[in-house]
């Protein structure tokens, strides 16, 4: 049967038998870095194309359909164009911060890739505080955005960056609370433990209505944290031209663009891991035959399927809802999402203590 864990084990064994342990470790690190960069590039291309196609079909259009069969190579052509373009730096800009910001945003996105389990046994770093690590590192990306906005020496960029700061600081709370509901139910911060706890059913089915509410809150907060419509105040084309990346062009703009899509993938992967069981196939407690049948579908397929389902959901939001105003944005978080998630966390705690979940 196809299994990613098997392939990685073969490579691991071969490296350790051919080289001395230190060299083998270094080679493994290099392979992981290359694979991560490869995943980034492929995801960027696929997600941008997917977004454009989904947007087109929702708006009763066809979308890109000229480059390659069905427009498949549109994003490849776009990337080529962006690479060849000149990367301008404004005259009065803070050159060092201006050039550093896109790389910082990318590095944050790369760091978040570490604790995600892509398939059974395929995880770069199974850290025992995985969930805490994710929520801590994901809030770092706002520093890159603030840096870009400040260094551009442009009022639109600065306004966009400040909005993004206010937004991420607010929505971090309800995202944290909705993640905590799963931590309370599982009793562990380690992502592999959380996945293992969903062997007899995903949390969204096992945890009754409170977990469903937590899932909805997480999706809203994740959309806000990735600065996507209806929460795209940081860019807000009609108000701020392009927000924090107004002054960026060429490859540095492409890095921001790529980081946005990678962040979507990462939050959706985390959502899939916490609520939909990560790579765990659809298991129903007690149905042995059904569970065995589901095990025949490789775990990597389950993971990508769930993640892309969530990505589609977020894209669906983007192309349906209008953008919120700043005061509406803060109202939504502080008056609605935060109180609801606090009460919800209490409910989940009661459920977990009394053992009412399946």
């Amino acid at each position: 049967m196809f299994s990613l864990a098997h392939i990685t084990q073969i490579i691991h064994d071969w490296l350790y038998s051919s080289f001395d342990p230190t060299l083998a470790l270094i080679i493994e690190c290099a392979i992981v870095i290359l694979v991560a960069i490869g995943i980034f590039a492929v995801l960027g291309l696929v997600l941008v194309l997917m977004e454009r196609k989904v947007a087109a079909h929702i708006q009763i259009r066809l979308g890109p359909n000229r480059v390659g069969p069905g427009g498949m190579f549109q994003t490849v052509a776009d990337t080529l164009k962006l690479i060849m373009k000149e990367g301008l730096t404004p005259d009065q800009a803070d050159k060092f911060l201006f050039n550093l910001a896109p790389f910082l945003v990318m590095i944050v996105a790369m760091l978040l890739l570490a604790p995600i389990a892509f398939a059974k046994g395929v995880q770069i770093w199974d850290i025992n505080i995985g969930v805490l690590y994710i929520s801590a590192v994901s809030s770092l990306s706002v520093i890159g955005i603030l840096m870009a906005g400040w260094a551009s020496n442009n009022k639109y960029s600065l306004l966009g960056a400040m909005r993004s700061g206010a937004q991420i600081v607010s929505y971090e709370l309800s995202a944290g609370f909705s993640i905590l509901t799963i931590v309370v139910l599982t009793g562990s911060l380690r992502l592999s433990d959380i996945i293992a706890s969903q062997e007899n059913g995903w949390w969204i089915f096992k945890g009754h209505i409170p977990v469903i509410i937590a899932f909805i809150l997480f999706i809203i907060a994740a959309t806000a944290e990735t600065n996507r419509a209806p929460f795209d105040l940081a860019e807000a084309e009609s108000e701020l031209t392009a927000g924090f990346h107004t002054e960026y062009s060429g490859m540095r703009f492409a890095l921001f663009f790529l980081a946005e899509y990678i962040n979507i993938f990462i939050v959706c992967a985390i959502g899939a891991t916490l609520f939909l069981g990560g790579w765990m196939p659809l298991h129903i407690g007690g149905w042995e035959g059904f569970n065995h049948l589901m095990d025949y579908i490789p775990s990597s397929f389950w993971f990508t399927g769930k993640t892309f389902f969530l990505i589609f959901l977020i894209m669906w939001f983007r192309w349906t809802f209008p953008r919120l105003r700043v005061d509406q944005l803060l109202n939504l978080e502080w008056k609605y999402l935060l109180p609801i998630s606090l009460v919800n966390l209490l409910l989940v705690t009661v459920i977990a203590i009394l053992g009412w979940h399946f």
């Binding site: 989904v54 079909h57 929702i58 708006q59 009763i60 259009r61 066809l62 359909n65 669906w316 939001f317 192309w319 349906t320 809802f321 609605y336 609801i340």
Partner: protein, 158 residues
């Protein structure tokens, strides 16, 4: 009381969002609703909407007769001077002089397809056609004469 309002707010908000998502979701799973025209390929079977406006034309019937009385209502209605009407005087069989058009000049390069001339016309002599492939190599070719050579006003149109 406050709590009741709060909950009904949340309920209404979620409901209105779901209504929007239902509509867009319907469009997503029904590709037959797509209205995009793949233009150069389907040039011969274009499916243009009824209200699409390509250029102003004057309709002539099989006897090469039109309904334009030369009243210049369209010329006055045009916001950017697209239409210029040159009139002449015909002699009627009774020997009276009667105003008629000599040339209906239409500057396509100035036209914004606003439809005001068509609305102003009292005799429905001009209308909007759906032809839109207007590109030419010389700008002077965009100045058109709408009444066909030898045409005259239809009997009974005043």
């Amino acid at each position: 009381m406050f709590l009741k309002e709060y909950i009904s707010d949340v309920y209404k908000g979620v409901k209105s969002l779901l209504t929007g998502m239902k509509k867009t979701g319907y469009y997503f799973v029904h590709p037959s609703e797509i209205i995009t025209q793949q233009y150069p390929e389907n040039r011969h079977d274009l499916n243009l909407p009824e209200r699409f406006r390509g250029e102003v034309v004057m309709s002539h019937d099989e006897n090469n007769e039109h309904a334009c009385t030369g009243c210049t209502a369209c010329e006055l209605a045009c916001p950017n001077g697209t239409i210029k009407i040159i009139t002449k005087f015909d002699i009627t069989p009774e020997g009276k002089k009667k105003k008629a058009i000599d040339t209906f000049i239409y500057h396509l390069e100035l036209c914004t397809m606003c439809n005001l001339c068509v609305q102003a016309c009292p005799t429905d002599a001009i209308k909007m056609s759906q032809k839109f492939e207007h590109s030419v190599y010389d700008r002077s070719r965009l100045t058109k004469k709408l009444n066909q050579p030898g045409s005259k006003i239809r009997e009974g149109v005043e």
